[in-house]
C-alpha cells in the first residue's frame, strides 16, 4: 500500500479513531450494565406495555438494528467517505446516550419515558453498527501492509476497554454519592445512574473535535479522485457472487465464532459468576475489571503476531482453546465458589431482621439476613424476604431467597486468573479480525462488506449468548454448565468452516 501514512501520522489516526470507538462502546455498555436500574426507572414490570417496550429495547437494539446500522452507514462510508460517516455515528451515539440521561422517569411523564428510551436505544444500536467498520477501515487504510494487524489491533482493544470503563464509572459513581455505602447505592439507584450517561457528552465533544481535524483515508481519497468509488455499494457487496461468497465466508468462518467467544469470555463469565456462582455484585464486576486490565495488551500482541504468521490460525486457535476448555474453566469457577464443604465459625454468625409495615397497614414484610463466616474468610449472606400476615391462616407460599458470597483474597484472585484466560481467548479471536476483514474486501465496498458480517457475528451470534445459555439452563436444570454448549457448538462449526475454506494468503487489500 504505497499511500500508507508515516509512523507518526498513523498514531494520530489510531488515537483519533480509537477514542471515538471506545466512547461508542462505553455508551452502548452502560445501558446494558445499568439495565436493572433503567428498567425500574422507565419500564415498570407492573405495566405490561412498558415491559413490552423493555423487551423491544433489549432485543431490537442488539440484534436487528446493529446489522441494519452496518448496512446504512457502511453504504454511506463507501459513498461519501469514512471520516464523515464515523463522525456522524459518534455524534448519534453520544447524543442519544446523553439524552437517555436526561429523560424524566416513568413516574414523572408516563409512557413517553419508555418510548423515548426505546427510540434512543435504537439510535445507539444503529450508530454502533456503523462505527466499528468505519474505524477499522480508516486505520487499516492508513497502515502499511506488513503492520496492518498490529495497527488495527489498537482499535480492537476499544470494545473491551469500553466495557472496562463503563464498569469502572458505574462502580465509582455508586460509592461516590455518599459517605455511607448503603445511602450512596440508594442515591445511585434513584438519580446517580444518570451521571455515567451525562458524562458521555463531554467525551464525545472531545472526540468529535479530534476527529474533525483528521483527513480522509488515503486509499478512499485516491479512489474518489480517480472516480472509482462505488455507485451502489449494497449491490456490489451482496448481489455479486465474487463478493457475496467472501461476506458469507467472513461470517461463517470467522466472525460467528469470534462473536460467541467474545461474549462468553466477558459477558457470560460475569453473569455466570454473579448469578450461578452467587458471588456478590461488586466482586463479580471487579473480577472482570482486573482480568480485562491484564488481558487487554494481548489484543496488540496477537494483532502484531498475525502480521508475521497470518490471521487465520491465531483466530482459529482461540476458538479451539475455547471449545476444549470452556467446561473445565467454568466448572472451576463453580468449585471455587462452592461453600458447602467449608467450616463455618458459628460463633460469628449474624442474624438480622427488618420489619416494614405494608401499605395495607395490616401485614408486615420481614427481611432476614443470615451471615455465615467461614474459617478461610469467605462470607455467605442469605437474605430471605417473606410476608407476615395478620390473618394467621395465610402464609407466604415461597419466600424470596437471595444468596451473596464474598470470596477471600486467594479465591478471588484465582477467579481473576480464570477470567483472564477466558479473555485471552477473546484477544486471540478478536485481535487480528479487523485486519482479516479489511483484507477480504476491495476498498470501494470495504466499509459495507466488512460491517455486515462483523455485526451479525457479534450482535446476533455473540449477543444471543447470554439469552440462549440461560434458556438452556432453564430447560436442562441438572447441569449448571449446559449453557456453554451454545458457544461451543457455534465455535466448532466456525472452526471447521474457517479451517477448511479460509486461506492464509487471503489479501484483497494488497491487490487494490
Amino acid at each position: 500500500m504505497s499511500s500508507s501514512t508515516s509512523t507518526k501520522g498513523i498514531w494520530k489516526v489510531i488515537t483519533a479513531s480509537s477514542i471515538g470507538t471506545l466512547i461508542e462502546w462505553y455508551d452502548f455498555y452502560i445501558f446494558g450494565s445499568l439495565a436493572t436500574v433503567i428498567a425500574s426507572q422507565f419500564f415498570p414490570k407492573t405495566n405490561p406495555t412498558a415491559a413490552l417496550l423493555s423487551t423491544l429495547a433489549t432485543f431490537a437494539a442488539g440484534f436487528i438494528v446493529r446489522p441494519f446500522g452496518a448496512l446504512v452507514f457502511g453504504r454511506l462510508g463507501d459513498l461519501i467517505g469514512r471520516k464523515y460517516t464515523f463522525l456522524l455515528t459518534l455524534i448519534l451515539m453520544g447524543g442519544s446516550t446523553f439524552a437517555i440521561g436526561c429523560i424524566p422517569s416513568y413516574d414523572s411523564i408516563g409512557f413517553i419515558a419508555p418510548i423515548l428510551v426505546l427510540l434512543l436505544r435504537l439510535i445507539q444500536g444503529l450508530a454502533l453498527g456503523g462505527e466499528y467498520g468505519g474505524a477499522a477501515t480508516y486505520v487499516a487504510e492508513h497502515a502499511p501492509d506488513n503492520r496492518r494487524g498490529y495497527f488495527t489491533s489498537w482499535i480492537q482493544t476499544t470494545a473491551t476497554l469500553g466495557l472496562f470503563i463503563s464498569l469502572g464509572v458505574i462502580l465509582l459513581t455508586r460509592h461516590w454519592l455518599d459517605n455511607d455505602a448503603a445511602k450512596s447505592i440508594a442515591k445511585f439507584n434513584d438519580w446517580g445512574w444518570r451521571i455515567p450517561f451525562l458524562l458521555s457528552i463531554v467525551l464525545v465533544i472531545i472526540s468529535v473535535y479530534i476527529r474533525m481535524k483528521m483527513k480522509e483515508s488515503p486509499l478512499f481519497s485516491k479512489l474518489k479522485i480517480e472516480g472509482k468509488t462505488s455507485t451502489n455499494p449494497l449491490k456490489e457487496s451482496f448481489a455479486h457472487k465474487a463478493n457475496l461468497k467472501m461476506v458469507l465466508l467472513a461470517l461463517f468462518g470467522a466472525t460467528m465464532g469470534q462473536g460467541v467467544v467474545w461474549y462468553t469470555g466477558q459477558f457470560y463469565a460475569q453473569s455466570f459468576i454473579e448469578n450461578v456462582c452467587k458471588v456478590d455484585f461488586e466482586q463479580s464486576r471487579t473480577i472482570l475489571i482486573w482480568a480485562i486490565l491484564f488481558a487487554t495488551p494481548f489484543f496488540v500482541v496477537f494483532g502484531g503476531w498475525s502480521d508475521k504468521i497470518g490471521r487465520k490460525w491465531i483466530m482459529l486457535a482461540g476458538m479451539f482453546l475455547a471449545i476444549i476448555s470452556y467446561r473445565p474453566l467454568f466448572n472451576q469457577l463453580l468449585q471455587l465458589s462452592d461453600m458447602n464443604n467449608k467450616i463455618e465459625i458459628e460463633a460469628l454468625r449474624q442474624i438480622k431482621s427488618n420489619y416494614t409495615i405494608l401499605p395495607n397497614n395490616i401485614d408486615t414484610l420481614r427481611k432476614t439476613t443470615i451471615k455465615h463466616f467461614f474459617e478461610d474468610k469467605d462470607i455467605l449472606a442469605e437474605t430471605k424476604i417473606d410476608t407476615l400476615y395478620n390473618d394467621v391462616a395465610k402464609k407466604t407460599i415461597k419466600p424470596a431467597v437471595t444468596i451473596s458470597k464474598t470470596l477471600n483474597s486467594s479465591i478471588y484472585w484465582q477467579m481473576v486468573f480464570i477470567v483472564f484466560i477466558l479473555i485471552l481467548y477473546v484477544t486471540m479471536v478478536y485481535g487480528p479480525i479487523a485486519a482479516f476483514l479489511v483484507e477480504l474486501f476491495p476498498t470501494k465496498i470495504r466499509y459495507t462488506s466488512m460491517s455486515l458480517p462483523y455485526h451479525i457475528g457479534n450482535g446476533v451470534f455473540g449477543g444471543l449468548t447470554p439469552f440462549i445459555a440461560t434458556l438452556l439452563t432453564t430447560i436442562y436444570t441438572s447441569d449448571k454448565l449446559v449453557g456453554l454448549y451454545y458457544p461451543i457448538i457455534v465455535s466448532i462449526l466456525c472452526l471447521v468452516i474457517g479451517a477448511l475454506y479460509i486461506s492464509s494468503k487471503m489479501n484483497i487489500a494488497n491487490k487494490n
Partner: protein, 73 residues
C-alpha cells in the same frame, strides 16, 4: 482438499433447513409454554433474524459445492 470442501458444502446446505425447522419448533414450544407478549416478541425476533442467516448458510454451502472456494486466495 477441494473435494472435502465440496462434500462439506452438502452438510452446510442441509444444516440450513434443519436449523430453520429446529428454530421454529423451539419457538412454537416456548411460546406455548409461556404465551406472554414479551416471550412472543423475543422468539419472533430470533426467528426473523435467524432464517436469513440459515439461508445464507445454504448459499455458502451451494458455493462450496460448486467449487467457488477451491484454491481461494
Amino acid at each position: 482438499m477441494n473435494k472435502l470442501k465440496k462434500i462439506a458444502g452438502i452438510v452446510w446446505i442441509l444444516l440450513g433447513p434443519i436449523s430453520i425447522f429446529y428454530l421454529i419448533k423451539t419457538a412454537a414450544s416456548e411460546i406455548a409454554k409461556k404465551p406472554h407478549i414479551d416471550t412472543k416478541i423475543q422468539w419472533y425476533v430470533f426467528v426473523i433474524i435467524f432464517i436469513p442467516i440459515a439461508i445464507g448458510l445454504m448459499i455458502f454451502g451451494y458455493y462450496a459445492l460448486k467449487g467457488e472456494y477451491d484454491n481461494v486466495e
